[in-house]
Symmetry: C2
Subunit: 382 residues, 2 copies
């Protein structure tokens, strides 16, 4: 099967590394014949082109792997590939979370498939396991650590008791974090993955801007110290619960008990859990990012297409996000504690408090109204 | 697809619970039409029969699910089903570890497949994930907690600082352990699963009696106390490493560091890890036993057969077990410490010692020669 590759950065170069190495018998039947690159500096391979038409209009190319990232032009190129009757594999969570409904329809109209294992959980493999569970039974909830960059930063802060900024800088130096780290540290990356997981696990399409999203950019060494002293580890979580007429979805930092498996997922690893009636809890741990693990997921999707293994899921329908049922205790470190006085249960160190059990929306409203830009809030689990 | 079910105990009754409930669209196409039971007391369903010929000779039955356990008559029935051109799914690790080479050949000769997800890791799903990784790249090693019964006992001993016997009795009361618990507590169950995993991960068939196997039946509260005081958790491990001309496979208790994910796998859960070059470490956690999780795996295999998803692996070849490369520090609690004097590095509590880094075969020889029936030995990891 001839493949056109869009993007030859971290993930794209991993894809050619795997397909060119001919490791597995089946992988040898996958041939990347064209690679779209951004500029002359990337024209390192005779297959490289800066003209996307050489891929989208090539009748020999049966599948397109989109590893460009960003909304545009990735979205337009993927649309056009589907319209031209080419299967699509994407590693682009931002684009896919925004347009998955439209792209599924377009794929169906054109008799091709769109796959996205690499967009969510990298090489874990998360999407294919959800798909497998769902063919037997509904999935009732999921949760976990979906972002390697923030998990690396939180792990380092815990290990070295150092501040956020220096660990972010180190993550950037190691290539774990982007120059503009907002998507990772403010939780948007997890938001996209939470929306994509909800789509696969529950069969619903949500407007991801409806997902309440708190990141870790305000976290300090003081918060981590409190966690350690009180038997917790701090992790950035994405969470979803299937409800009769809606879905509960949220992204926020969580203090998990030190006996919990999630407390011991370190460095840039991801760990995600699904819960279903017969199978119960199943947790999948692996590298959620990085060139080869993510490329591994792209190539797995290509192989599934080559082997004609259609996932054959019912078309997802739109659903609203409703978090009315989410009630918990929260940790809030703030310079404006008076704004949280009505919820306070106890102090938590010198500058933070623990709330009584309140609803997530009560917390979010108070955070919005507190006027404190340094505020840090996290859920506290049993 | 019409299915004949052999055995209607814990796993078999889970299979009919899932297939009869018609949860998933595809599961509705799987119909259990005949159930082999042992005696009159089990004839609870009009499909039940005590005559296996009504299944093996029924031309309408395309697949047989063997959930009987034990070597015979399970082995003979599975052989006959394959010879009669029926696909087979088995949850029987003991039988499959012993006869998988012969059964693969028989399946091939008769143009049918034999599947065994439920034999190893229960509902995790372990075998299907190994299969997926292996179609892209070789797996270099695996390890993990393969037995829920012993993990439950060790977890309870750690939590309550109580002795082995009372926790074994409790596990039996809860249905986690058999009346004759030898297979679980002496490590044979893990041995079978290690052999089956080696077959799928490395493509090799081994004589499982070549796998050095130490269990936990000699463990005491004192050993657990030493672990806790020294930052370890005690877990029963199966482990495999692919070598150029052999495989390294062993089963033994391991003291894992308390920051390790495996240290926090509690109760009757299993957790198994594969390592490969591109994907790196991937860990799968789930219920390794129990009626519905194991039955879930059986039904997944039946669906794969129904959907004609052949795993298409090269036929495994025989290989010897060689543990020459396994070197570690070991904990040995013994009434005959003089027999381990040459290896001793330090004391470990009042009645135990830590060895220097020695080879597994040195340890095994010393254990064999020490004449102490109460001796307990475990590997100590970093």
């Amino acid at each position: 099967m001839k493949i056109g590759l869009l993007g030859h950065g971290v993930v794209g170069s991993g894809v050619t590394a795997i397909t060119d190495s001919c490791a597995g018998k089946k992988v040898r039947r996958l041939e990347v014949t064209r690679i779209l690159v951004k500029d002359e500096s990337e024209m390192t391979d005779p297959r490289c082109t800066m003209n996307v038409e050489e891929i989208l209009s090539d009748p020999d190319i049966e599948a397109v792997a989109e590893c460009m990232g960003g909304l545009e032009p990735a979205h337009t190129f993927v649309r056009r590939a589907l319209e031209n009757g080419k299967h699509v594999v994407t590693s682009n969570k931002k684009m896919f979370a925004a347009y998955c409904g439209e792209l599924f329809e377009l794929a169906k109209e054109n008799g091709v498939s769109i796959r996205y294992e690499a967009s969510c959980g990298g090489g874990i493999p998360w999407i294919s396991n959800l798909t497998r569970i769902r063919r037997l039974e509904p999935i009732s909830s999921f949760c976990g650590i979906f972002n390697g960059t923030t998990n690396y930063i939180l792990s380092r802060m815990t290990l070295t008791e150092s501040e956020f900024a220096q660990n972010l800088a180190e993550a950037q130096k190691l290539g774990y974090a982007e120059k503009n780290p907002t998507d990772d540290i403010d939780g948007y990356d997890v938001r996209y993955k939470t929306a994509i997981t909800a789509m696969r696990a529950f069969g619903v399409i949500v407007d991801s801007s409806e997902i309440p999203t708190l990141g870790i950019s305000a976290v300090t060494a003081e918060d981590i110290r409190w966690a350690k002293e009180n038997g917790y580890a701090l992790k950035l979580f994405g969470s979803g619960t299937n409800l009769p007429d809606a879905v509960s979805l949220w992204v926020m930092p969580v203090f998990v008990g030190s006996k919990d498996v999630f407390a011991h997922i370190s460095d840039n690893f991801n760990a995600v859990q699904s819960v279903s009636k017969d199978l119960g809890r199943a947790i999948f741990v692996g590298q959620g990012a990085g060139s080869l693990p993510t490329a591994h997921a792209v190539v797995q999707d290509l192989l599934d297409i080559y082997q004609n293994q259609d996932s054959d899921m019912p078309a997802p329908g739109s659903r609203h996000v409703c978090n009315d049922g989410v009630k918990a205790q929260f940790y809030v470190r703030t310079a404006a504690p008076e704004k949280f006085a009505e919820f306070k249960a106890s102090d938590a160190g010198a500058h933070a408090l623990l709330t009584k059990t309140i609803s997530l929306s009560e917390l979010l409203a108070a955070l919005k109204g507190c006027g404190d830009e340094t505020v840090f809030a996290a859920m506290v689990t049993e």
